[in-house]
Symmetry: D2
Subunit: 302 residues, 4 copies
């Protein structure tokens, strides 16, 4: 029986590097979790354990740390840091033909001291994690920005009715419900040079504003409205992908206790949860874009 090696990749995952910019006053910090995945001429490693082409995962970690110093300006934004790393691995390491750099960024806010912002003390924001994924194959450079763990909720302006009913449908329609989700979003840039920070902030502001103001008939509709607004307002973005768990808040039945519950008391459920996922595309970009799949695909299909 003929057995062969298919797609493969390796590298150091989750290098936790914090870069402090101390040459200015006040200090600045960036806090990253960087994962490197390399593909290339690695058949021999798998077949015979011949590591001659193997850049060690330890060296990829060292590179992340060293680049935080050597490429300090690039390191100020996860997208530019990812680009610098991806280009290095592919361009400077012969057996490597493709690099994928995935970065989580944990935002920090400046602490107050005696009523004014302190120059070198911070609190971790916790509101969301910013992400960037850069993929480079020596020719194409894909930059994907994103956000995750951004939990938003609205207490009204959400309906859900008129749905298909089959034998297993018991849900009652509603014209007023709590809608909440923890946003995971990723968006592909049409360009590889941007004011990354400004672009990111604008995306979050747009999705937040749309989420707040949209009168929702379905989470899918709200998701699409958020993506549509982002693409309409930011031509540098070619495609947005969302993964939105419907964080159910069920109205608690208080009637056994002689109490009315007019959408005031809710049970915040853990599982099961609806999971709504979708892609919203700028059609103009798709005409000239390489397949977006390569930009988002984590490699093993999951």
């Amino acid at each position: 029986m003929a057995v062969s090696l298919g797609h493969n990749q390796y590298g150091k995952a989750e290098t936790r590097v914090v870069r402090v910019y101390r040459d200015s006053d006040p200090h600045e910090i960036v806090d990253y979790n960087v994962s490197v995945a390399l593909s290339g001429d690695f058949e021999d490693i798998h077949h015979t354990g011949d590591n001659a082409n193997c850049l060690t995962t330890d060296a990829t970690k060292n590179t992340v740390n060293a680049f935080a110093k050597e490429h300090g300006e690039a390191a100020r934004q996860p997208e530019s840091f990812g680009i610098a790393l991806a280009k290095h691995f592919v361009d400077d390491t012969a057996p490597v033909s493709r690099a994928r750099i995935k970065i989580e960024m944990y935002p920090w806010n400046r602490l107050q001291h005696d009523g004014t912002p302190h120059p070198h003390a911070f609190a971790r924001s916790g509101e969301f994690v910013r992400t960037a994924t850069v993929t480079y194959d020596g020719e194409n450079l894909y930059v994907v920005s994103g956000v995750k763990d951004y939990t938003v909720l609205k207490t009204t302006d959400s309906e859900f009715h008129g749905f298909l009913t089959d034998r297993y449908t018991t849900l009652q329609p509603t014209t007023d419900r709590v809608m909440a989700t923890s946003v995971t979003g990723q968006w592909l840039h049409t360009d590889t040079e941007q004011d990354w920070s400004k672009s990111f902030d604008q995306v979050v502001a747009t999705m937040s504003s749309v989420f707040a103001g949209h009168h929702s008939l379905a989470l899918q509709q709200t998701m699409y409205a958020m993506g549509e607004a982002i693409i309409t307002e930011q031509p540098e973005i070619g495609e947005v992908r969302f993964s939105l768990p419907n964080k159910h808040h069920f109205v608690v039945d208080l009637s056994p206790f002689g109490l009315e519950n007019d959408n005031e008391v809710f049970y915040a459920a853990d599982r099961a949860y609806g999971l709504i996922e979708g892609t919203i595309r700028n059609d103009a970009f798709l005409d000239r874009a390489p397949a977006a799949g390569a930009a988002f695909d984590p490699g093993q299909g999951w």
Copy 2:
């Protein structure tokens, strides 16, 4: 051999209740995770399975939900919500002689829509979790407020040297290091009526300001300074307890790559971590206070 039952308690843990205040514009929300632990005349349940004295854990959950409606004003703050619940269980349920209500509160911020705060859309803050633990035995009422998962960091103004050295000491002294911790703090109130929200905000502001401004020679010293400032500024607080993991940020050795690292690039370590814990007390309060242990003790000794 004589075997007997010692301390025991039971109740529903982690009831996730969200209360929306919709009668005003804008809407307000509180988001709680409530755990109930009851002690009392429960020997027979253990010995024979006679449940005649057993208030079901399901009923304690129902009570939490119902009280969110019936005692809507108390439910606006975790401390007053805990007091209402604890008193109810002890005063209204004959076999219950002691109740301990532990509440986690997840703060939410109002979302911006078209540049202004939206009346009914929110994002979860994530900066910290606010906590309250109320213990009532029919006579004594202990109210403990707290914070957890509040991660703070300073990039300088932290030294560590002059320490004891034994055979197993290899650490080098330093006059400049990153200091970071994830604050878990709990403080016992000297009174059972307060403006809980104002008191909580002031504690967080004080600990943040001290953490930022303190020139630290040891995390213990910073911890004590935070506790001392809280107690000095807020006479309603009798005792503060901290549990502070030292979230180590190690300077990465970049010298093999010909690079200097003057406290610019750090490795944020997971484990092991120093864990610094301590109690700071208002001595005046201790003279007249009941033993604080009962206020903090989770019951089983862990």
Copy 3:
């Protein structure tokens, strides 16, 4: 600007259903976490909130629960349960053109009572989670089985040397190291009818035996050897994909304490970790197989 909807899917994620087979003695149980993702004619939901084609996620949850009873025999194995569900959603619900059912299965072992296996008491195994993912588009039916959180370690018979060195390489070669990983594996079946339990057990036995007996020069080589053995021994398997974190165990330097450490005392690191991923294929199957990507792709590209 033209904006359009791309790939989308939705359904109830993480329905936690436990099925007890009580009609026999001893009782049997299966413990599942089932996620449903449906694609189809759902444009209107996104564009206008018209839910006429929307099978509610609540109904998909109800279906999972009902099928655990109605299709009790299928429900004994995650693969056959997934097939029954996927076919139902596509064949019986007009707007649905594709269903993806992802199942985690938590194995339980029978408890001992007075030295013999008890007919209705169990302990959760915890050694690994068994998984199955079934994708059906009305024509093609893909069945992927898998395992995750299966942590294995060998204390010797692992070398790593002869690797490429660049400017950022500092790792020292070794001829004897601890090798450990937490196996996530998924394999695509060439057929949609199998003795699923037997097939799964054989895969786990093969990978365990190869891992134990293989003299490793690289984790990639061990990974390939495991995949090759599985494919060689089980013609019903067309492709295996692995994601293997290298759970580093670093030799602790005890020399400052005058102690030798001949691979006896290790530090089990959390992060960063090497991540080795690869696909091993049965070439004969690939000639006649549909693209494997559809079988593994979670839908949004991540």
Copy 4:
């Protein structure tokens, strides 16, 4: 206002040390997570940052690693390893008057290779975590053993009825339910020398056998029966403390689909959950024992 320092403790938490015994064939391994907490003459550290009495947390980590080599026989069991460490810190370090060593142990099973147990390859068990906590103050030595994350379930032989009903009670009584819990148990030894492994295995066997065989009228009753059996059968154990979450398995209502559900299909709920906690004591031991609280108390009251 007079402010003072109360109880305090510090040390390195979660040192992840793996010890391989290679001098024999087959190899043996132990896998520990060790946390050290020291109390003593540490006022000055808190008040002035004078670290002269401060054994660094880094040194406590080094000590754990060094002892894994120097005291290799003691390190084979978590209890004896904890005793060696606790005695060292108190007896050999002048400012330290009390040490608390908390150890988690992750059991591993030997892998099969070609049908026989392999001499140096292992799979992590995952069935439970074994724990030990040793507290020593220079005079008293407390040894507490334990287990956690041990999830057990019985499909029948569990009733719950005859309970107190108040205004908030809606639960229906039942004569047949699934009972499941994730056992956290800790037990105090009456002696400081034991065959720790044998004693631990016997406790787990006893609690498992009782859980399986007990016809339960309340989880409290089952808990007491487990504790009573342990104490009756093992005179070396003076007190057992349990913390038992009631992992609710709710019967799914399948009647809307025209299906009966005779305790066959269950929803495994996450939150809220009943939490049953209790202490079962050997009265003979209590007469001569020091206060058990010191053995279990984690220090800060939580």
